[in-house]
Amino acid sequence: MIETLAWLLLWGTVVGLDLVSVGQVMIARPLVAGTVAGAIAGDPVGGATVGAVLELFALDVLPVGAARYPDYGLGAVAAAATAAGAPGALGTGIGVCVGLAVAYLGELGIRAVRGLNTADVRYRREALDAGDAAVVRATQMRGLLRDALRSAVVTVLGLAIAALVYRWPPVTVQGAVLVTIVLIGAALGAGATGGMRLSGRGLHLRWFVLGVAAGVVWVVVT
């Protein structure tokens, strides 16, 4: 149990760092973060399910320029931990619900880190303006450390919420299924909104519609 939690904490920290600070190899995508977290918690399919639902929400985020965004990767880690072990439709909705809340916490954390980084570079303005390589390096490392701390703290909060939900489920069986239905619907809506926004008004929208049509045909045929 403790070992599983330690692995989830480590995974959450790495996932949180990947979003902005290190590499961006996209292990922070909820599909990846959720599936792996599910595997750690012993339920890879449950993890993949909540991961896929959160991935649809994440499709509606275009991180263009310096715009802000929810941390759906950390959300997916908490969601997978919540959903692990609950059979199918019972865990998905509550898991995703926790995931959305944690994604928002993650975003608040990003803003806090950015604020602290800003205070940091103001404090060291002279050394940075003078191009001091040691200060540059140290500033980078402190930024990294802050983000690692943010990721770890948000992961711990997420796991705590998961444990509370597990201990005292806030819903009846029907309630849990209802939440699952509503959130799968909202996620598909978010994914479609993202797809349309991605396509704009022009020609690409036709490609999007074509893709949807092909997907429907595929589903019907197989």
């Binding site: 600070s21 290190v22 995508r29 980084n117 940091d120 239905i181 994914g191 049509a213």
Partner: protein
């Protein structure tokens, strides 16, 4: 590839580590450029190195994957001995175009396309196959662009525009948007089917209804509300209903 380029490449992975509102990724830019500036005339104690480092920490922004291109081009300009003001000008002129190319290529192209692939494979094959196919497809392009970008910048310096004219980049930008649109479109019904597998027809219709509501609400009624908050509000509503019934 020589050691300094490898070192700079490694550091471009940390391009956004100290993201802040004052300089955005200026400090990350300086950090990644530093290995390439070390062998300016006079070495690390020389005046050219000191001046180049002063410029390197100023306000900068770029797409994280394209940052290496700026790192290479600006470092090359410093080695060519361009006057300081011209280096600044080059640096500033790269901010918009590199952001624009990177956002179009990755955030609006390769990423959603690979996500579509990953979702479809997850739903039709297995979750493991899904995340592996996503990560491999995405990072093959991502890492190739990082390596190419740094070397192209370092090769061309101020003539960086000619590298972006390269057939493969312009071709890639043309096709990646439509591919992403098709992939996301295709993935939606396939994932919907997978997620709703265990439900009856009536339940599926309810899911479709909520999806339609979500689209109408977040696309036309209150576009600034965000789908995250829509999801949370809808789930809260469902919780209350489930609790009362």
């Amino acid at each position: 590839m020589n050691v300094r380029i490898a070192s700079a490449l490694w550091r471009t992975l940390l391009f956004q580590a100290s993201w802040n509102y004052d300089r955005l990724v200026g400090v990350g830019m300086a950090h990644a450029s530093e290995p390439l500036l070390r062998d300016l005339p006079g070495g690390r104690t020389g005046e050219p190195y000191r001046e180049a480092m002063c410029r390197a920490t100023e306000f900068f922004n770029a797409h994280p994957y394209m940052g290496g291109m700026a790192v290479g081009a600006v470092a090359r300009a410093e080695h060519d001995g361009l006057p300081g003001e011209q280096v600044r000008r080059l640096r500033h002129a790269l901010i918009g175009p590199l952001g624009s190319v990177g956002d179009r290529l990755f955030w609006a192209g390769v990423l959603p396309a690979a996500v579509g692939l990953g979702l479809v494979v997850t739903a039709t094959v297995s979750p493991l196959a899904g995340i592996v196919s996503f990560l491999v497809a995405y990072n093959a392009v991502h890492l190739a662009i990082r390596v190419w970008g740094l070397r192209a910048g370092w090769r061309s310096g101020p003539a960086i525009a000619q590298e972006l004219t390269a057939g493969s980049i312009q071709q890639g930008l043309r096709v990646v948007g439509p591919i992403a649109a098709i992939a996301v479109g295709f993935a939606l019904p396939v994932v919907a089917e997978w997620l709703a597998e265990e439900f009856q027809m009536r339940t599926r219709l309810s899911i479709g209804l909520v999806a339609a509501l979500a689209i109408v609400f977040s696309r036309w009624i209150v576009p600034t509300f965000g789908t995250l908050r829509f999801g949370l509000a809808a789930a809260g509503f469902a919780l209350v209903v489930g609790w009362l019934s």
